[in-house]
Symmetry: C2
Subunit: 321 residues, 2 copies
């Protein structure tokens, strides 16, 4: 559910006067997106998304995010394209907040992903990784492997409220991740949050990807591991090897994986599961009583973590070991 910053008609008119995108015809808040306030903006020239950046996004990161969209769009990756004001700027101020306009992307995110959707995701992720080569800006992964222990420290004392023994299990697993985390894999700009609600399809063909607000520099194969977790488990918790094979094969057709990357996949997937387990645990323990928005259950990612911890070889992902 969107944080919702109200914009007056005068403020909107003043903001849009800096752009060559016509007169506003409609302006509606979108319920999707928890980090920022998003408006669907219809003007005499087309449809756009107008985003007001709320305080959870660091203003200093915005040139990285918006520059990345410009870079990707110029290289043929279908993503929202920042609209430049007449003075060239992509970032303005609206209702006291940093704000930007991007093009509207048609498509619907798959509520029940199929193997075909997974293949589309694998393919676009590889093309994304290739297209980010040469992007000049960098951004540290604030939720990367080095952040997990400090992040866990915020929830350790109350973790067992979610499930008895959870604190000890995370502690043990953090130790194993610290010992086994691969540090020499090829790196680059990763999306880091390519969940189904960030991938649009039309008639089962991928039409574009959105929400780059976790993008950062990290191991490329770690992005793939995040996708394995986000796309290849069934609602009942079972891992679907057919979907994993579809995702990984499609990726490798666009960007070959090194032996080191393939061998690292189980550990990367454990780490990816840990990252989402920890942020969900944090949010779960801090939900205001009676809040309308129920946070996502951290145990979903505990289940995924345990699965990857038990994987004997990458054959479990449909790959030849």
């Amino acid at each position: 559910m969107a944080v919702y910053t109200e914009v007056t008609d005068e403020e909107l008119a003043g903001f849009l006067s800096r752009y060559d995108i016509g007169e506003p015809l409609s302006f509606k808040g979108i319920a999707e997106g928890v980090e920022n306030t998003n408006y669907l903006l219809h003007t005499t020239t087309g449809h756009f998304i107008l985003t007001l950046y709320e305080k959870r996004v660091a203003v200093g990161d915005l040139p990285f995010f918006l520059g990345l969209l410009d870079h990707l769009a110029a290289r043929g990756v279908s993503c929202p394209q920042p609209v430049h004001a007449r003075d060239g700027a992509v970032l303005g101020t609206l209702a006291g907040r940093p704000a930007a306009v991007v093009t509207f992307l048609d498509g619907i995110w798959p509520r029940r992903p199929t193997a075909e959707h997974c293949a589309g995701v694998g393919s676009v992720l590889a093309r994304l990784h290739r297209a980010t080569e040469g992007f000049a800006l960098t951004r540290r992964n604030a939720l990367g492997a080095d952040a997990w222990a400090p992040l866990f420290a915020l929830s350790r004392d109350r973790a067992d409220e979610v499930q008895p023994g959870l604190a000890a299990e995370i502690e043990r697993e953090l130790g194993r991740l610290a010992a086994g985390w691969p540090r020499d894999l090829p790196t680059g700009v990763i999306h880091a949050d390519l969940f189904p609600d960030n991938v649009f399809f039309l008639d089962d063909r991928l039409s574009g990807i959105i929400d780059f607000y976790f993008a950062c520099n990290d191991a490329l194969a770690y992005d793939l591991a995040i996708c394995l977790n986000a796309w290849c488990f069934e609602p009942d918790g079972a891992f679907n090897v057919t979907k994993a094979r579809a995702l990984l094969s499609a990726y490798r057709r666009e960007r070959p994986l090194s032996t080191a990357e393939i061998e690292a996949l189980p550990m990367l997937a454990r780490g990816g599961a840990m990252r989402f387990l920890l942020t969900r645990l944090h949010d779960w323990l801090r939900v205001p009583p009676g809040a309308l928005v129920v946070p996502k259950d951290p145990r979903e990612y505990l289940n995924k973590l345990r699965f990857h911890a038990g994987v004997p070889t990458v054959a479990a992902y449909g790959l030849d070991p």
Copy 2:
């Protein structure tokens, strides 16, 4: 903030297969609207609003609401127009809820209404009242004058938490309303909730009105009194007689007011203020601690009620007494 019912792509495709509106291109939840879940739906033939009716709306009322939109659209009142499925139905089922598709209305609601906006509202309200003549269905005003005492009973014990003495003041005022409430005014179908966020403008010209989910049968002039409250007070609580005059004059050009209606305006406006004071008081006392959505302050309507209670003649509204 919208209640948010998730719809799968398969459910959406199945639902839309009953209509002749093309294939879905985009499907986004809208943040506006607290009673229902609203999606903005873009298809190969145009833009629509798809509404899922949540439990606060009585299913039995939906034929009245949707029939009213059909009736009004056929008579040239710009409002969302229900899209009929191939079998003629305007109401279907989606994700286990009653659901309907209506046409998308361009326009932006005025965050800071001007006297020009008020004139537009007066004019459209009168045309609405004339256009509803002949509409066959009726709906009792569940929040009408007879409902205020029972509604207050739900909050009486805690009303003084909002402001000391509030319970006694409401009690006294309910007595005066019961004694002085006009019962013989012309009735018809009223909108009953024509606040600024339900009225769209393009370039200061009214482009349409939405959200008929409080529409019901009651005194036509009571609808006008609700608009006086919703449109003619400034953010600091001051009544703006210029806006009231603009609203009332524009209304009378389209539908003349009888002497009885004019003389009843102060009492109708007190009643209208009481109705919103009571529903806001109810919601204010029941907000879950820590909830993201802050309910509207009931004291805004206490201030409006006191203003109308002190009005000596209708000259206070810019009318000749």
